[in-house]
Structure formats: C-alpha cells, structure tokens
Subunit: 347 residues, 2 copies
C-alpha cells in the first residue's frame, strides 16, 4: 500500500495478559490424541496410555542466545521449538506437546509477538506438536522464551546417553558446522550494516549456512528412519553445543572412550568454502561450533549393514574402553585428546 | 567467625554450565515411582501407567514478579515451586515432577544460586516432587526463573474450570488478602530502608502477612482433604490474581453467573488491621490482591454437609444462570458487578 510506512502497531498494554494469550494461541489446532485438555485451564491434561512420557525444557534470551538485529521473529519462534523437539528426538521418542512462556519488554508491539507465534505455529504444524500452555509476562529488558516439550515413546524404544558399549559405531546425521558458519556470516553483515546502513548484503551464496543458523530442523525424520530400518541405537544425544562436547557427554554417561576420525566428519561444501574465507579450521568448527541440532548416536556393529550407504547417516568412529580415552584421529593419523569446547554460558 | 565480612563468593564463570547444573542439582533425591529418568539426559522420562499427566508452567522475573531487596533467595525458590504446584492442585491432581530453568546475570555468585536451590529443594521435599530437568544460562540483566510442573490424576478425578452449574456452592480455602498486605508491609519497609539504612524494621506484628507473601504454601492438603471427604468439585481454579479475577474465569469457562457474598469472604484479623493501617478496603484487597494461592472451587449443594464446619473451607456464595451475571452482594445488600482486577502484566 502507498504511504504504509508505519505498519500497524498495537500496544500490548491495550490487550492485557489474558486477552494476549487468547489472541496469540487461537490458531493452534490440537493434533495429538494424547492432548486431552490444552490451553485455558490451570494445567494441560495429557494421556499417554501405556507409553512413557518425556519432558525437556530450554530458555532462550535476547542478547545471549539470539540477536534480533538479524534474527526474524518468525524464525526465532520456529527455532525455539526445534531446540526443544531435538531433545525429545534425541531420546528416540516423538514430541507431542509444548508449552511456551514468553517475557517481553514494552518495546515489542503485538505484531512482533504475532510474528513470533507464526513461527511457533508453523513448527507445531510441520512437526505435529500441540501447544498446550504457557505464561506471558512483561520483562524489564528484551525478549525471552522458555519452551518445554513433552514426548512419548514405548519403554523399550527410549534411548539414553548411557548405553554405548566398546566397539559400537559412532554415527552422526546430516552435516556439521553450518549453523556456526551461518552465524559468522550474519555477524559480519551486521557489523557492515552498523557502519553503512545503506549496504544491501548479498547472502545468496551463504543461503544454506544462514538457514542452518536461523531455521534449523530437528531430526524427527531420523527417528522415523531408525524405526523403518529397525535400528535401535545403544545411546543418543543431540548436537546443540558442538560434536566434541556431545561425544564427551556420551562417553562420560556410558563410561566408555572413543576414536573419532577427522576425515569422516561430514561437512557441506559451503561450510568448507566459508571456513576458508573466514580463515577458520573446518574440523574445529564442526567439533566446537554448535547449534546444528543433528543427532549423534551409537549402534552395535551388527546393525551396520542396515545403515550403510544411507545419505543421512555417517559413521564417524567407534567406541572404545574407557581407559583408552576419547580421541580425534587426525588426517595425518595423530591421536589428539578431545576437549569440551561446548559453549560455556558464563564466560 | 571473626573477620568473616566477605563470605565465600564463587564466580559462576569458574564452573561452566554443566558443572553448575551438576552442582546445584546433586541434592535432589527421586521421590516418585513415576520418575524413570531424572536430570542428566536430553529429556526426563516419566511413566504414569494408567493415570493422566498434567503440565503447567510459570515464568518469574526480577523487577516484575519479585524484588530481591526484600525477597530472600531461598524463599524465592520455594515460592516459585509453589506457584506451579498450585496450578496442578487446582486440577485436583497431585504434582509429581518439576523442571527449573534459570537465567542469571554475573552479579550473582554461586552461593546465591545455592540459596535459591535450597528453597527449591525444600519445596520438593515437603511436597514430594522430583526435580527432573531444566536449563541454566546467563542473562544480561537480573534473575529469572521458569518452572514447569507435571502431575498425575485418575481421569475421573480431574477438575477443570468449566464444570460449574447453577446452584452449585462457591467455596474458597484459607483466607484472602494476606499476601497482598504482606507486600505492602515489605514495600513500606523497603522505602524506609532506602532513606535510613540503619533502621531495623520490626515486622513481628506482620509475621503472618509477610509469610503469606514470601513463603506461600500450595494447597496439596486440600486435595488430600477432598479425597478423604469424598467431595468431587464440579470446577476449580487457584487464586493467583485475586478472587474477583478467578471467579470471572471460572464463570466464563463454565458459562454461568454467580453471587458472591461480601460478608462471607474469609479475612485473617491481621489482614483487617493492616488494611485499616494502610487505609485500604479489605474487601477490595481480597478481591484484587492476588498471590494467595488458595483454591476456589464449586460443589453440588448435596455435598454441603460433607464440608460444613470445616475450618479450611468457606462457602462464599453460589453459581447462577449466566444471564444473572456475576455479582458481589455487599454487606448492605447492594448488588455490585464483579470486574476483573487481576494483575495486568502490561500496565
């Protein structure tokens, strides 16, 4: 429209808390039979019959976990759901419900929250998850999101971090380092923008990386694939903090060691070329980058034929006795101890 | 100890995220058979057999929901759990697990978080609830807590907000307005303290009010009492925002009206005297004060004899047809429409 330079802006204080929740959550249909009561009572009611119930939660804070100068709110809503669903899938379970709590300062108009909820609604629709509750309040600074996801699985299907055994194969889904390199690209453009706001960034050659950062997908498809292939992992974890940190978690919880082969780490060609451009070591980026939301799991060697050649799955190495330690076997065949380079929230 | 003017202070950055979670959650024993896997994997695993599962969540933000200049951290932890358990009890269910997510700025040392978790642990112990997960991160300003509670109940025991019928009796537990008056006392002392930090406040005569504000108890005992009395409420809600707002929620969800009798509203003598001192109307305080975490429910008239004379329960009025509206019948017998004076987070 002509002259539409000030898009509609509705102040949150016009609505009040209850009307705001009603408004934001009206377009969420119920998708799961296990959702008995959704939003609108003191608590949601779920019924999993003879399945076991899983629960996980994550907190995302503006200025710590995301930067709104380059994160569209719709993407933020979508990603916040993915982060939580990924933890449910990492148990070999199916996510069924989420709750979304939100704190916003009054610099955000209603339309901003609508955008955020559009992303949440899209994630719920694609992943077949019901929004069943939450809390909405004001904050004195910025935006924060706290999401809790619920899931269900048959008892004998659930995979913990603690079941890896020596000689098991270490398998990862997809490719690594993309989300981290996407963040490097976005932060660089953001610096350029601060100096020259007229500059129009050309991100075309970084599309994959930027998407990995802004709109990651949780690997529900892998849980379905494993079911179809009749593969029951012995242990599993999702990659939120970087491959190295997650392998160490897995080995610690399973009381085992491992050998990880550098030349097996799956890297997208655009990650490799961006690493060259930014003068970063691509192995280090994959090991420490984080936010890829791929799944890392172990399987018994006799399951190998079932996954062999599958383009979604890469065998990275194998589990060893604990006293052999946790090592990266480099391309030139040296044995380097793995260190936790997981993102430390307090430094 | 002599010279102990600088109590031990451990910087959070010395620990890192994972060590911090381990450290804060090591003293939480598992109390419920339904907790299959607690903290330490991607998600907790719960098993409710043939019971239904309930979930609720609340977000508490420094400067919005609490003021640390007069809220001891241990009390804050305890209260944050109560706020959530109260929502589970308001469904006539028993709370079984919680997750606790936490964001803190680096002005908080480890010892502050230990105090907070002491309060959480005490609440878990007294109420028989397991801590099964959470997320810990840094914030750029202040402290915030996001708690999710899970509960269980037999399907035919669960009470929603929507079941009230005309002629049902409206019942409330405990007494009202205490938490709000406790807040008035604390805020007054805080103002005095700002002017004269040497002043030692004498809060002895306000003990009950201050406790209602800082250390409320969720009414698990009422759920057990209702079971023992064989009373099945037709609808129920907890009083977090004030009696008036909660009655309106109940009537709206049940599609009914109600008559509430002013002279029936239960007030503690210390609430009445504090209202006189602060020149506040005690009825208005009970209707709009909030944070009492009592339960409000409706029962069929034929259940009346079962609750008659119980010191925990007060009949406040009765449910009417929707077209009769929602009214307060004042002491001088005038009929005043109830308005939502529930706390509006955005004004």
């Amino acid at each position: 429209m002509l002259d539409d330079k000030n898009p509609t802006r509705t102040d949150l204080s016009e609505l009040g808390e209850f009307a705001l929740i009603d408004h934001l959550t009206r377009d969420f249909p119920i998708l799961n039979k296990s959702t008995v009561v959704g939003i609108g009572d003191d608590a949601a009611v779920l019924d999993f019959g003879d399945a076991q119930t899983l629960i996980t939660t994550d907190l995302l804070i503006e200025g710590v976990h995301f930067n709104l100068s380059y994160t569209p709110l719709k993407h933020l809503g979508y990603k916040a759901v993915m982060v939580n669903l990924s933890d449910i899938y990492a148990m070999n379970a199916i996510a069924t419900q989420i709750t979304v709590s939100l704190a916003v300062s009054n610099r955000f108009p209603l339309e901003a929250l609508e955008e955020l909820y559009e992303g949440i609604a899209l994630a719920c629709k694609i992943y077949g998850v019901d929004l069943v509750g939450g809390d909405t309040t004001s904050s004195n600074k910025g935006l924060l999101l706290s999401i809790t996801a619920i899931g269900a699985a048959k008892k004998d299907k659930i995979v913990m971090r603690s079941g890896a055994k020596p000689n098991d194969l270490l398998v990862v889904t997809g490719d690594l380092g993309g989300a981290y390199m996407g963040l490097q690209v976005l932060e660089r453009e953001n610096e350029v923008f601060k100096v020259n706001p007229q500059n129009q960034p050309d991100l075309a050659s970084y599309t994959y990386l930027v998407e990995r950062q802004l709109k990651p997908e949780a690997r529900k498809d892998i849980i379905e694939l494993l079911e179809k292939l009749e593969v029951q992992p012995t242990s599993m974890i999702d990659i939120s903090d970087g491959l190295s940190s997650e392998i160490l978690h897995l080995c610690q919880n399973s009381d085992v060691g491992c050998n990880l082969y550098e030349d097996k780490i799956p890297l997208d060609p655009t990650v490799i070329s961006a690493c060259e451009e930014f003068r970063l070591d691509s192995t280090l980026v994959a090991l420490s980058g984080g936010e890829d939301y791929e799944l890392l799991f172990t399987i018994d060697q006799k399951e190998f034929l079932k996954i062999k050649g599958n383009p979604n799955l890469t065998v990275l190495g194998h589990i060893t006795d604990k006293n052999e330690g946790t090592h990266l076997i480099s391309r030139n065949n040296s044995k380097i101890p793995l260190t936790a380079q997981g993102w430390n929230a307090f430094t």
